[in-house]
Symmetry: C2
Subunit: 335 residues, 2 copies
Amino acid sequence: MTAPQWARAHTNIALIKYWGKKDAQLMLPANDSLSLTLADFYTDTLVRFTDSIATDQFALDQQPITGQPLAKVTRVLDQVRQLAGITAPAVVTSRNHVPTAAGLASSASGMAALAAAAAQAAGLTLDHPALSRLARLGSGSATRSIDGGFVRWFAGHNDATSYAAPVPAAPALLADIRVVAVVFSDQPKAIGSTAGMARTAATSSYFPAWTQRAAADLHRLLPALTAGDFAQVGQIAEGNALAMHAATWAADPPFTYFLPATLALVQGIQVWRQSQGVPVYATVDAGPNVKLLTRAPHVAAVQHWLAAHFPTAQVVVTQAGPGISYYPAGKEVDA
Amino acid sequence: MTAPQWARAHTNIALIKYWGKKDAQLMLPANDSLSLTLADFYTDTLVRFTDSIATDQFALDQQPITGQPLAKVTRVLDQVRQLAGITAPAVVTSRNHVPTAAGLASSASGMAALAAAAAQAAGLTLDHPALSRLARLGSGSATRSIDGGFVRWFAGHNDATSYAAPVPAAPALLADIRVVAVVFSDQPKAIGSTAGMARTAATSSYFPAWTQRAAADLHRLLPALTAGDFAQVGQIAEGNALAMHAATWAADPPFTYFLPATLALVQGIQVWRQSQGVPVYATVDAGPNVKLLTRAPHVAAVQHWLAAHFPTAQVVVTQAGPGISYYPAGKEVDA
């Protein structure tokens, strides 16, 4: 047992989507996915193991959390305790710097920060693949938030082989890629990601083809990243996102996370890109909000276009971010 | 050579979509499809073979037609001439009773009426399967407009085996099924059906799964039709239409015929159906307009709901229609 430990992890946006599990117990995904870690959205988490309490405690943004979210935290902590050979419950104090207006899930950064802080607080020395596997137990997308930049989650075939690792990219691409989040709704989804993913995997006529498509997209994306070919990267990411949403549309019963505004933005950006040659591509997670991929010199034009066409949408801009970092015990961050 | 001959054929709406050819030359579709012939939308066509002209002439709604549409007419006429052993060019006079506001293609009724009138005018006695094969050479969906009610187009594997035939349905279902066409746009599509179909078949990750899905949907639909299980019919038709559009979304490059309003209507009708139990289901062809399937007692409620939620859309209601009919030569219809 060591000192309490703070860790910070950043959220990520997938360019090749994770959509469907092949093993819900081990949280093994049906396909490899690939994401970009984001600079401005992160979670700080403090973990302190102590025998002075009876069960794990979890507070997020100063609110005590119970039920299913606490169970996911405990799932990660249990694995840490097993690896460290300890039994003490933990006090977990977490603060999200992922504004709702970003339309980005905080579970990725939250579970990655938890894994890192808990391992450290338990006195474990885990490498990034091991931390990635640990984060996976809390949330699939958290697997990809241990490392910075572009990150690939290898689906694997058991707990040991399902983890993420950074992938090489042209430095110029990594330096000037920008993500413009366009938020239409911050309301809870009618169908949560876990349920939507499960329904797609179990019933969609297109699910087997989706996993093959994702694999093919990823193998085209890797060389585009190293070549720094942004247009290719954007096109592959956009096509992959639309294919993922097409798979939900062929589920039984069919469903979609798109709102009419989602479709209007995706169609509008495609027409604008084709007519004006602006390098901007859309990706959409399991929700109605759109994330636009562009490069630094075009951010202002994209913002201008959004203000003209979607004046009520909230817009947040960010860039590539780092992997996990630690704050010395005792040096409190603003949690 | 016999007297000039009028024929009338009605257009149809597919419940299991035709989307993709396996042989573009023979117009063989990738999958069986199933449609409902519609009462209020039809084409009247007069064919007269005469050696007094040099090449086929075609007038539609009193406008002379040339180019690609004329080439399709000639393709059908050539087959008729070959079967009849004649060489005379034909004068084709056609009138569409398919208002643009219906958002329904007139090529189905047009080519079916042409096939029937031309065969008769050439002195041929062809049964419905033979007429269906003839109509297929002009337009895929015309294959299904020779017969009335519910019609299945067998994809087949050559010219002889690719034709449509009526399928049995519960009389009560056939009597009170209604199609409510909701028209958002009567503008030409950015991507025509033939091109969209070809792009989907050639590039969509989901095309092979689409053809399997269509086959499975059709085999579930047939017993639902004979049982008169409208809810089941509607659900299968809606799911099949959405799966077809999902396949275009996974093409390269991805595309969709949906407008934001299309999505809003499909989503709105699903929510309304689930909350109020109104039996109304959506189907969408290769365009932005929606056709709602309902039963006679619910038409007024559907119209009321549409007026409240989509006040600017044009709405046309129709029901199951008959197969081809003939008008004696000399007794002119209002063409």
